[in-house]
């Protein structure tokens, strides 16, 4: 038994009898029989080919179910089945003297289960991926990050800045009247600024071989916009460094991804802003997203159904805010899919098609590392990164 397999199997049940496989009627008995076959093969002398074959049948079938209907209607049972498929495939890949490439495939398989599946067996895929990651951790060269700070030019439309307001004054002055504000020095205590300062090199070391969803294209309203899956290393190599300066190569953006659920190590570097306790929900109801990309990423003018704290960790972003009261001047798309998005390109508006846009009042700012921007619920916001940037957003109600 290889050292790696002994670590992996220690996390799995010791025998077939103690390996749970219970599903509702939604999962047909033919499918359950294949899952049982995989479980049998895990504890028997099956060949690696056979194990992989059975696991792949489970993955192929559950993948089809996951793509049937709308994502939120997909039965959690099928997402669990998908995760079991990933588990059995990882076990098959990494059992007998896996090559470096097979271990990376194993990590990718775990990530697919974490991204598309549902947690099974005490989130076993999370545990397995961390074991596999340790096997591949490699030292990377020092990446020097451009730490040049841009001066925040004061304009008469600047978003107000305030340093560490009390909970009561934030609530009365900004939350209740739904007024945007930048809270300075509020995230200063984060390990992301202190013990583990975030940098490209740090992200590579913590998450380099992890697979994440990346948006490719200048903005999500474009026809050429698409999504793909890359490892963090690939994303950094292809879209963050080595970029062609004339803009011919497409922009890539690791956007709106719950990275901190996927990689708990990074979650320990951030803190939920205290002001979130002014909301109605639990801590568990707060959605935390990562936004990581090169200069030039654009989120078109849009509104969200929850309050938002946007924390800038690395680099800077230009942000413009419009009040929901002026929605009539912002020309939202008609379709239900894009109803929360404006048709107007904020920094290059078509004044013939959107004549009222120039008359809509706005606030703007350049968000710097350490700043926390409060974007009130339904407030329209447009964001463009000015350089390599990493932000964390907290959606709360």
């Amino acid at each position: 038994m290889t050292a790696l397999w002994s670590k992996l199997s220690a996390v799995l049940p010791p025998n077939e009898e103690e390996f749970p496989l219970q599903f509702s009627d939604k999962v047909e008995s033919s499918v359950v029989s294949v899952l049982q076959q995989s479980r049998r093969q895990l504890y028997s002398d099956a060949t690696s080919t056979d194990r992989t074959l059975t696991a792949q049948i489970i993955l192929d079938l559950s993948w089809e179910k996951l793509n049937t209907g709308t994502w939120r209607d997909v039965d959690k049972e099928w997402r669990c089945v998908y995760s079991y498929g990933c588990l059995f495939k990882v076990a098959a890949l990494c059992r007998e003297h896996p090559s470096a490439d097979e271990i990376l495939q194993g990590i990718r398989t775990c990530d697919m289960g974490l991204l598309m599946g549902a947690a099974i067996m005490d989130n076993v895929l999370q545990v397995l991926v961390q074991i596999l990651q340790e096997e591949v951790r490699k030292s990377t060269k020092e990446e020097k990050i451009n730490k040049k700070r841009k001066i925040n030019k004061l304009t008469k439309y600047a978003v107000p800045r305030i340093k560490c307001p009390s909970l009561e004054s934030f609530k009365s002055d900004y939350l209740l009247p739904l007024r945007p504000v930048i809270l300075e020095a509020t995230a200063d205590h984060w390990p992301a600024f202190n013990e583990h300062p975030w940098s490209v090199e740090y992200l590579r070391s913590v998450a380099g071989c992890r697979t994440v969803p990346v948006e490719v294209g200048s903005r999500y309203t474009d026809e050429e916009w698409s999504q793909t899956l890359l490892t963090v290393n690939e994303f950094i190599d292809q879209y963050v460094l080595n970029r062609v300066s004339d803009g011919a190569k497409a922009v890539g953006y690791l956007a709106q991804h719950q990275l901190f659920d996927q990689i708990p190590e990074l979650k320990e570097d951030i803190r939920i802003p205290d002001y979130c306790c002014l909301g109605d929900g639990d801590e568990d109801d707060i959605t935390v997203n990562a936004w990581f990309g090169p200069g030039g990423t654009v989120s078109p003018l849009h509104q969200d159904p929850q309050q938002n704290f946007l924390v800038q960790v690395v680099g800077s972003k230009y942000i413009r805010l419009y009040s929901p009261e002026d929605t009539d001047k912002l020309y939202p798309h008609q379709s239900s899919l894009l109803h929360n998005t404006s048709q107007v390109e904020v920094e290059n508006p078509d004044t013939e098609r959107f004549p009222e846009f120039a008359r809509a009042p706005y606030l703007e700012c350049v968000l710097q590392p350490g700043d926390v921007l409060f974007i009130p619920v339904q407030h329209w916001h447009y964001i463009r990164s000015l350089e390599l940037s990493f932000s964390v957003s907290f959606w709360w109600s």
Partner: protein
Amino acid sequence: MRWFGFGFNAFGQICVHNELSKDEGRDTVSDVKIMNPTELHRNVDKSVCGRNKCLKTSQIRASWSRRVWLHVDGDSCVCLAGFGGTSVVDSSGCTDTVLSETHLTLAFSDRIESWDLQKKEKTPAWSMEIQPPTDTSGPPLSLPLVPGGYIATKPPFYRSLSPHLKAKSLALGAEHAILLSATGAVYTWGLGSHGQLGHGGLTSEEEPRAVEALWGMPMKHVVTGGWHCACISDGADLYIWGWNESGQLGLPSQSLRKGHKEESSQQAADCQSASINPGGKPLEGEKDKEVFISIQAFPALLDISPSCEIRTVSCGSRHTAAVTATGDLYTWGWGEYGQLGHKNLISTDEPQCVDFFKEQKLYVVDVVCGPWNTFTAVGEEEVKLS
């Protein structure tokens, strides 16, 4: 009529696994993925089924884990194979069948019955009586159509259809449906997130909506796959639309090419491109790259070269198979279980002729796809399609 099957066989639904394979250490992959068209044998126990002559007409339907074979001659006989073993269903007088993963539906002249395959009960889970048709001018309705409506794959089983649609045939996918009316018009409804409704967008439709792009071109045959649809016009042209992630539309598929380039045969390409093609014209990629289509939201005419008349078509989850008027079988789309019949496990976005039938000098007359496999009937040229 002889039938051949290829593709997914994990449950022995094409042919029973070689029982000696475990001892001899034979590769299980070739049990599960049948790459070469293999002839289907009628039930060994002839005394039960009572057939040992070559039948003129028979019908095959396939679900993910099973296959049902209806022999229609005199006393009809329904033979089930796959998960749960081989069995013969008591079914004299059965004229038509539909098979889903959970139910086997049988049509008789006076009733429809749906049997729950997960329970071994002596009576059908559901049934309804039907009146023998008073109007005998047209051909009998084929399942899942029944007088006044159709039989769905899950409860409620009977769903009504407006008579003004003049439904002539109906095909059901997991989340969408396509209907052919007596006038040759095509209607679709259900989920549209992958362009499978053919109306040019991604929105769903609650009620049958005419596919306007086909207006004025009468169709004679309509089928669905997992996320795509195909139909044949009176002029024997093939139209196709929906999701092309595995090349199942026969149009250039980027995710397919990426998958071939990057990975070994074991990993499926999970990249899902959201590029939509509403206008029917190819997307503009970068100038020196090929043009790819991942979703075709309007019907596209597919020329299976060399240009030829299409006799019939069938779709699996992610692959398509078509029979030409000259007796050739073409397949394309997802092929990782051997369901394309090209003696390999390679998916392709270019329709390819299945050489096996040409080599054996067999004349293909019909094709029926299960989700991950394909069944082909060969016979004499005059035989009617089942």
